[in-house]
């Protein structure tokens, strides 16, 4: 949209020189409890058009919970969710989709027994004809699914094949291709590169950058600070449901980001431990040692 950067060099420039883009989605002090588990506490976050907001954090930090609130799968128990300047409370994923927010979930992907093209368009099927003769536009859907998957660089010989017969990475690619195709304003990706090979990860990152350049607001969740730093404009680290860091790209280096993610000093202790000579040949001993230091 307003950006003139493209592809991988755009990934390097990041959002450093961008004019302030309009905010498309905002969270204010959002909290979410599962019964007595407080998965999110006072999380504030802002997603702008043409920017990639990376959310990082340890396992169980609340990243997936955060995106499920935005995607309408869960409802927040505290705070406000503002989309396009309007406070909303999504009661179903449909509400979220209708506002142009598309999501790739970490744990909810595709229906294994259904064919590739049916999965691709599930919930947003194309139809043709009127009244009682309204029917699925199978031809158009297969053509589009084929095109979109080809763009992602995965080859599937037969779109009628059930998704269950594909590899985990291929499935992930289909879910991502689908979200990119349907994400009109905001694209949310929950650890999209976790199951992917190096090449596919690269393709996904390129597409994330492309979506940004097309003016979408992107929320990119990952464990990998390298991936995050390649494309991110803004970094948010979640720690036990709280935001422990919120910086724009200009204010942080990759090293700092990696450090912050791992909890800084903890990582140093770990690297010290792992590099200590004499202990490496016996992993069990190393484990025992780390247990003792942990106490």
């Amino acid at each position: 949209m307003s950006t003139q950067t493209h592809g991988s060099d755009g990934a390097r420039d990041g959002g450093a020189g961008h004019p302030p883009n309009s905010e498309i989605l905002r969270l204010e002090d959002v909290g979410k409890s599962y019964g007595n588990v407080h998965a999110l506490r006072g999380v504030s976050l802002s997603v702008r058009q043409g920017e990639i907001t990376c959310v990082l954090g340890d396992n169980g930090a609340g990243k997936s919970t955060l995106i499920k609130v935005i995607a309408g799968l869960h409802q927040h128990t505290d705070g406000h969710l503002v989309v396009n300047g309007e406070e909303v409370r999504f009661t179903s994923p449909r509400d979220s989709l209708e506002r142009g927010i598309a999501t790739v979930y970490q744990d909810l992907a595709l229906v294994p027994l259904m064919s590739i093209w049916r999965n691709f368009f599930l919930g947003s099927e194309m139809t043709t004809g009127f009244g009682p003769f309204k029917r699925l536009d199978v031809k158009r859907m297969t053509v589009i699914a084929d095109e979109e998957l080809t763009k992602m660089g995965i080859s599937v010989p037969d779109l009628e094949r059930p998704v269950g017969a594909l590899s985990g990475g291929q499935r992930q690619c289909i879910a991502i291709a689908r979200a990119i195709y349907f994400g009109a304003k905001v694209l949310i990706l929950d650890e999209p590169t976790a199951a992917l090979g190096v090449k596919q990860s690269g393709v996904v990152l390129k597409y994330v950058a492309k979506a940004r350049d097309a003016g979408l607001g992107v929320i990119f969740i990952t464990h990998n600070p390298h991936h995050a730093y390649l494309v991110g404009n803004h970094f948010v680290i979640l720690n036990r449901g709280n935001v422990s860091l919120d910086r724009s790209r200009a204010d942080i280096t990759l090293e700092q980001l990696t450090n912050e993610m791992a909890g800084g000093s903890e990582l140093q202790a770990l690297s010290h431990e792992l590099s200590a000579p004499g202990q490496t040949p016996e992993p069990a001993a190393a484990l025992a040692a780390s247990r003792q230091t942990g106490r």
Partner: protein, 354 residues
């Protein structure tokens, strides 16, 4: 900075290199991967068996009777199959037939109304029972097996209790001389001459319902949603499929078909036994499973359920035509169920490998 991944500079659309490890599937393997293939093989085997052992079986009139027997099971089995593809069971599917018939006849009889009023009230009741099953399922998250087991007993008790209360017996009052009987009989229970052979009208309704269900499953959005909610309802919900509406709609479809068969039973005679329908739910489920529906949901076909019902019709009558003791029928049914499911499994695995 050092990165573990570099974005490839080649443009992805050029990557249309076909993966040479996967061959395009042949037509035969595609055919073999259809859910109804196992039941089709079974149906042919049963047909050939009875054609050989029972000469009467070969006559057109006998075949019409077989089709009729198939239709009374099949109209329900197609709805039960849709529900199973959607991942749920309905154990009340047998007694709801009796409930519908009793409701229609009793309502019209007690209030001295035109039978069509009773028929309409009964339709609403059957749909409401289905909606209740579906609503309670979505509300509580309990397995449909338990919920519909509850409705099964409730309806059974209501059928017997209300009939006893109103008539003092176990069968509803005769509606043969009431207004609307003739026209209702024409719709639900008449016989049409096709080339000198009398074909019951339920056979035509059955064909229509199966065709509609097949169209819905394979060519409409709702069909896509049915497969999705049965295959993985959480994933389906996450992409915006209206899971609740789809499941409630499926239970209501079972209610509708139960109502239809109930009307057929009522107007085939003129009264109905209040204890009927018990145990039929398993026959419907067997027909659906023999027809290729997975018990776990997300897979199956409407045509398969029809073939399953036809196998049932052929067997129940074939045993009689062959002059065998009808007591063997249940044994045959059980063997058929096991064989068909094993064949389905083997064929499916084979087809997936090709």
């Amino acid at each position: 900075m050092s990165t573990s991944v570099s974005t490839p500079s080649a443009s992805p659309p050029a990557l249309r290199a076909k993966d040479d490890r996967v061959k395009t599937r042949s037509l035969t393997s595609r055919l073999l991967s259809r859910p109804e293939i196992g039941s089709l093989i079974g149906a042919i085997a049963v047909f050939v068996l009875f054609v050989v052992v029972a000469p009467t079986f070969r006559q057109p009139a006998s075949l019409a009777t077989v089709a009729y027997a198939g239709s009374t099971i099949g109209i329900m089995a197609v709805a039960v199959a849709l529900l199973m593809i959607g991942g749920e069971f309905d154990l009340s599917a047998g007694v709801v037939v009796t409930t519908s018939a009793l409701a229609a006849s009793t309502f019209a009889y007690q209030l001295r109304l035109n039978l069509w009023v009773g028929i309409l009230v009964s339709l609403l009741l059957a749909l409401a029972i289905g909606a209740f099953n579906g609503w309670l399922l979505m509300r509580t998250g309990l397995p449909s097996f338990l919920i519909t087991l509850g409705t099964f007993f409730m309806l059974q008790g209501l059928n017997l209790g209300v009939t006893k209360l109103l008539t003092g017996g176990v069968s509803s009052d005769s509606v043969a001389d009431m207004d609307g009987f003739a026209s209702a009989q024409a719709v639900f229970a008449s016989t049409i001459q096709v080339g000198g052979v009398g074909v019951r009208i339920t056979v035509l309704w059955w064909i229509l319902f199966v065709a509609l269900a097949t169209w819905t499953l394979l060519r409409t959005r709702v069909g896509n949603w049915i497969f999705a909610v049965g295959g993985d309802d959480a994933a389906a919900r996450a992409v915006g499929v209206p899971v609740r509406k789809t499941k409630i709609g499926l239970f209501m479809t079972v209610g509708f078909c139960g109502w239809f068969v109930g009307m057929h039973q009522l107007f085939s005679f003129d009264s109905i036994q209040s204890g009927g329908g018990v145990g039929q739910e398993f026959i419907y489920i067997i027909a659906a499973v023999v027809g290729g529906c997975l018990l776990t949901g997300g897979y199956g076909s409407a045509v398969g359920s029809a073939i399953g019902a036809l196998i049932f019709g052929m067997t129940s009558l074939g045993i009689v035509y062959a002059g065998w003791d009808a007591n063997w029928f249940k044994l045959f049914l059980g063997v058929m169920l096991l064989l068909a499911t094993i064949v389905n499994l083997v064929v499916k695995n084979q087809a997936a490998k090709r």
